[in-house]
């Protein structure tokens, strides 16, 4: 309807530059679209951009996500194209997973580590062709990629601030795609990645299932993002497609057990205290480490950790009452002593579940799946600060 006009307005948005002033928060290329969808007018800032926190209500958004289909703005994500003869060798070096093993169209989520095995970030890597790859992550790492590329024949292009991203998730996503004339791409809802021209617009589709919810992300030039958004919205009109905000996406993420930078772990370069960042094994990616792969960042440290065992592991918690604040410590009685055996790093009171969920870490020596731990919850009740003792169950420990 307003394709042309909105595209023109978008061209005037300063999407191609990072905020010069750190206090200035930018609109994303989809801002015009999301601001219509954001009825709650509840915004949050993400990597220097504003995105809706809630568009309607968490209940309604979770219902769209888990029963129909939902769309969200992923534009603030870091986006990098890697190409060249050494691209596979370079990525194998940079990332924990065995990259050369991926076929064209494959996607994997892998940690990117420092040499000490501590995670800089989690990166989704899609192989789009023999020598062409698409990387996305929640954070900016051009400088690190650039350093890591020393000595490799690769071309790195940073699309972070010029491309937009859209998340499409929910059981009805295949129907949305078909209705929007992307019927050939429904396989990506379950696995894979592809770059196609969609009626004149170049888009990259990458599978991104979150937990039980199938889905994908769609990446395109910022100037064309509004058109892509409209086409999807129009197509999904009859499938219950709704725009959702960050809070719903976070809820889904936490429930699916996927750790996130800045919430569950401090990206290693940002940690002032070296023990505050987490290793790839602690984050639950032990299965990706292949001893036969040769040198990659963190290899020696991770193999050593694998041999000696990790002190901490990522765990999923279920809380008896309301979700405690992120950063809350979890205790256990040992004899007469009360010892700290874990921490909840991100929590959510999922409206569609009986109990609140959380992600965090437990001390492997002291905690087993199924254990019940003590939580001290501090909260304000009618302007009064109260402390309550509650308990939480360790649902699962990674690895």
């Amino acid at each position: 309807m307003m394709d042309k006009a909105s595209a023109k307005a978008l061209e005037e948005l300063p999407v191609s530059t990072r905020p010069a002033d750190p206090l200035r928060v930018l609109p994303t290329p989809l801002h015009m679209k999301t601001s219509i969808a954001c009825q709650a007018n509840d915004w949050t800032s993400w990597a220097g951009y504003t995105v809706p926190n809630l568009c309607t209500s968490l209940e309604r958004e979770m219902s769209a996500l888990t029963r129909h289909a939902a769309m969200a703005d992923l534009s603030p994500m870091g986006k990098y194209a890697v190409s060249g003869d050494d691209a596979a060798r370079f990525l194998d070096h940079l990332l924990v997973a065995n990259i050369a093993d991926l076929n064209t169209g494959d996607v994997i989520l892998t940690p990117m580590c420092q040499s000490n095995g501590r995670v800089i970030n989690l990166v989704s890597v899609a192989r789009l062709g023999a020598t062409s790859w698409w990387l996305t992550c929640d954070g900016r790492h051009m400088n690190w990629l650039y350093q890591a590329a020393v000595g490799f024949d690769v071309t790195l292009v940073d699309y972070s601030d010029v491309h937009a991203g859209i998340m499409l998730a929910g059981p009805e996503v295949s129907r949305v795609l078909t209705a929007a004339d992307l019927g050939d791409c429904t396989d990506i809802v379950l696995r894979g990645a592809r770059r196609i021209s969609w009626d004149g617009i170049d888009i990259t589709l990458v599978h991104r299932g979150v937990g039980q919810v199938p889905g994908l992300s769609i990446w395109c030039a910022g100037s064309e993002a509004a058109i892509v958004w409209n086409r999807l919205m129009d197509g999904g009109a009859d499938c219950g497609l709704e725009a959702v905000g960050r809070m719903a996406c976070e809820t889904l993420r936490i429930e699916s057990g996927e750790p996130a930078p800045g919430r569950d772990f401090i990206p290693d370069p940002e940690a002032l205290r070296s023990d505050r960042s987490r290793t790839a094994i602690e984050l639950g990616f032990d299965h990706l480490i292949d001893e036969g792969k040769g040198v990659f960042n963190g290899r020696a440290a991770l193999l050593e950790e694998r041999a000696n065992g990790s002190v901490l592991r990522l765990a999923m918690f279920s809380f008896q009452g309301a979700a405690p604040q992120a950063g809350t410590q979890l205790h256990k009685k040992q004899g007469r002593k009360d010892i700290i055996v874990g921490v909840a790093t991100s929590t959510t009171s999922a409206p569609h579940r009986a109990s609140a969920r959380g992600l965090g870490f437990v001390v492997t020596d002291h905690v087993r799946p199924g254990d019940v731990l003590d939580v001290t919850i501090e909260e304000t009740r009618e302007l009064l600060q109260v402390t309550r003792k509650e308990s939480c169950m360790v649902v699962e420990i990674s690895g």
Binding site: L94, V150, S274, D275, R299
Partner: protein, 589 residues
């Protein structure tokens, strides 16, 4: 080149093309890459400890930047390095280099700071004598000099002690960032400081200050005489892409003063037969200990299997296996080109990539039909000395300036030696060799070296002509080795004296680069021993010695077990084939 053949034959080198089966059946404990002096020192120490050693050298001739060769006609000279300023006495003794033929044509050579009016300042190991020659310039500087001399020597002694040791490793700071490692780092630094105890509180402060300050600041604080400051600053900037006011150059001065020759400090000597004599003696010491040195054998690749070093592959395609490989060529080439980027993690690769290695030192070797007259000396009375052209700090700074922008100054600084004054063996026709080190000559000359060699030589001769009248008329031959030529002819990357700029961030436990030190390569079984390691460039032999000591400490895992493990993992046919005609070196201990 018949002369080279003679030398090589004399010392038992094999210059023939590698003989496949012969090499194939040899078994070695260690392969040393490069027969530079450090590689040979390392080889000799290892051979002495009973290791079976093979040295493989890319050039036809051993020696690297330390060799004797033809410089014009059939006159010979030290083509690159030309003075011994501290080949470590312990190395000489341990390896028996005098026994293997090392002789000095001159030792305790004085340094003459050339003065335009002939009032030269003459430096020797006797500070009161030096003071005498300073007096005509400034009585107060003359009075201050002996104290300065004593202090610098005392500081140099501390440096000298560090030079002979493997520095600590800063794992916390540069590798893991872990708290335990950081406290270990602090201990390592503390240990370095233990040597400080011999200093007074005042000297301690001064010493620390010298670590980060420039030689220009140090000298401006100490003296007034321009010539005196220029000559002393020359040592601070020698071989470095740095001016007299660049931080870290005070340390450069201390480094040059660490040298001891035949009991004198600071010592300067000429080996008989040119610098190649050092290499001949080293080579003999290796061969006598049943080591082998193979020239014309360029290493193309360091072989790694299953995360450890197993040998080298030569440019000819021949593979030679050994459980330990130590590289006497520069760290950047060793790690980036021979080992390969894929064997290094990002942090390390960026650190190695960050080594700056563009030399600014050139060598001008001239053949003269007779000695020029030098102002202030009677003809026939020219001392066998090291002559310096560096009349003031400003002059050096001006000479340095253009090199930062890819140019050269028409007024360069120079170090001149006439080795033929003491060593007749270099020339058959009573000709004289004038051996000149010149700074600052950029590796990348903006306009390219091809069209500017003559201008450059002319400006050197013009400047020298100020002190040596009629010099131009006596030149009958010679060669200019700009940094690009040094790289080409001596495999000296960037033509760099130190195999990597020894700035403050690339010293001691941060040398060759932060995160890689202690002569250890990033892959098990790989070691580094060149000037690119602590304590840096110059013919000291210490990097070679320290590396050998480090290697002898490590337990050697026999190759056979590793290689069969590798096969089990990969079922590699090619490896199997290679294994059929090679017998592996078992650990010597």
């Amino acid at each position: 080149m018949s002369f080279l053949k003679n030398i090589l034959a004399r010392v038992g080198l094999d210059t023939r093309a590698p003989h496949g089966s012969e090499a194939g059946h040899a078994s070695f404990d260690v392969i040393v890459i490069g027969a530079g002096h450090n590689g040979l020192v390392c080889a000799s120490y290892l051979a002495k400890a009973g290791r079976r050693v093979l040295v493989v050298e890319a050039s036809e001739q051993a020696g690297g930047a330390c060799q004797t060769g033809v410089i014009g006609g059939d006159t010979r000279g030290s083509r690159c390095a030309h003075l011994l300023r501290g080949l470590d006495p312990e190395v000489i003794k341990n390896l028996g280099l005098h026994r293997y033929g090392l002789k000095y044509a001159a030792r305790t050579m004085p340094t003459v700071a050339l003065d335009y009016d002939g009032a030269h300042i003459i430096f020797s190991h006797n500070p009161w004598q030096v003071a005498e020659s300073i007096k005509p310039h400034s009585a107060s500087d003359a009075e201050r000099y002996p104290e300065f001399h004593k202090r610098i020597l005392q500081f140099a002694e501390i440096i000298n002690h560090w030079n002979g040791q493997t520095p600590g490793r800063l794992r916390g700071l540069f590798e893991t960032g872990a708290f335990e490692d950081l406290s270990a780092d602090a201990k390592a630094l503390q240990q370095m400081g233990a040597r400080f105890d011999v200093l007074t509180a005042e000297d301690k402060a001064e010493f620390l200050r010298l670590f980060v300050s420039s030689v220009g600041d140090l000298l401006d604080r100490s003296f007034d005489t321009q010539l005196l400051k220029g000559a002393l600053a020359f040592d601070g900037v020698l071989g470095r892409a740095a001016g007299p006011f660049s931080p870290g150059t005070a340390l450069g001065l201390l480094q040059q003063w660490t040298g001891e020759v035949a009991g004198t400090k600071p010592g300067i000597a000429l080996p008989e037969g040119g610098m190649g004599a050092v290499i001949d003696a080293l080579t003999r010491s290796v061969v006598a200990r049943r080591g082998q040195v193979r020239c014309s054998a360029r290493v193309a690749q360091i072989l790694v299997e299953n995360g450890r070093t197993v040998g080298v592959e030569l440019a000819s395609g021949e593979r030679i296996f050994a459980p330990q490989v130590v590289s006497g060529t520069d760290p950047k080439t060793t790690l980036m080109d021979l080992l390969g980027r894929e064997h290094m993690e990002t942090r390390l690769a960026t650190a190695v990539d960050g080594i700056t290695q563009e030399g600014v030192t050139a060598k001008l070797n001239l053949v003269l039909d007779r000695m020029p007259k030098i102002r202030g000396f009677d003809p026939g009375q020219v001392p066998s000395a090291r002559f310096i052209v560096a009349p003031s700090l400003d002059y050096i700074e001006q000479a340095f300036h253009p090199s930062k922008y890819g140019g050269f100054s028409p007024d360069p600084i120079m170090e001149v030696v006439f080795p033929t004054l003491n060593d007749a063996s270099l020339s058959d026709h009573n000709e004289h060799v004038m051996s000149i080190i010149v700074q600052y000559t950029p590796f990348h000359l903006k306009e390219g070296w091809d069209n500017h060699r003559e201008d450059f030589i002319q400006s050197c001769v013009d400047v020298l002509g100020n002190y040596m009248s009629g010099l131009g008329d006596h030149i009958i031959g010679g060669e200019l080795l700009a940094p690009v030529d040094l790289e080409q002819q001596f495999n000296l990357r960037g033509g760099h004296w130190h195999h990597g700029e020894p700035d403050l961030a690339h010293q001691a436990m941060m040398r060759p680069a932060p995160g890689i030190s202690q002569y250890l390569g990033p892959v098990k079984g790989l070691y580094l021993c060149s000037a690119g390691c602590h304590p840096g460039g110059g013919i000291l032999g210490l990097a070679g010695k320290n590396a050998a000591e480090r290697m002898l400490k490590d337990r050697v895992e026999p190759l056979r077990t590793v290689r069969s493990a590798h096969k089990a993992h990969h079922g590699d046919d090619e490896v199997e084939a290679a294994e059929a005609d090679v017998s592996y070196g078992e650990a010597a201990q």
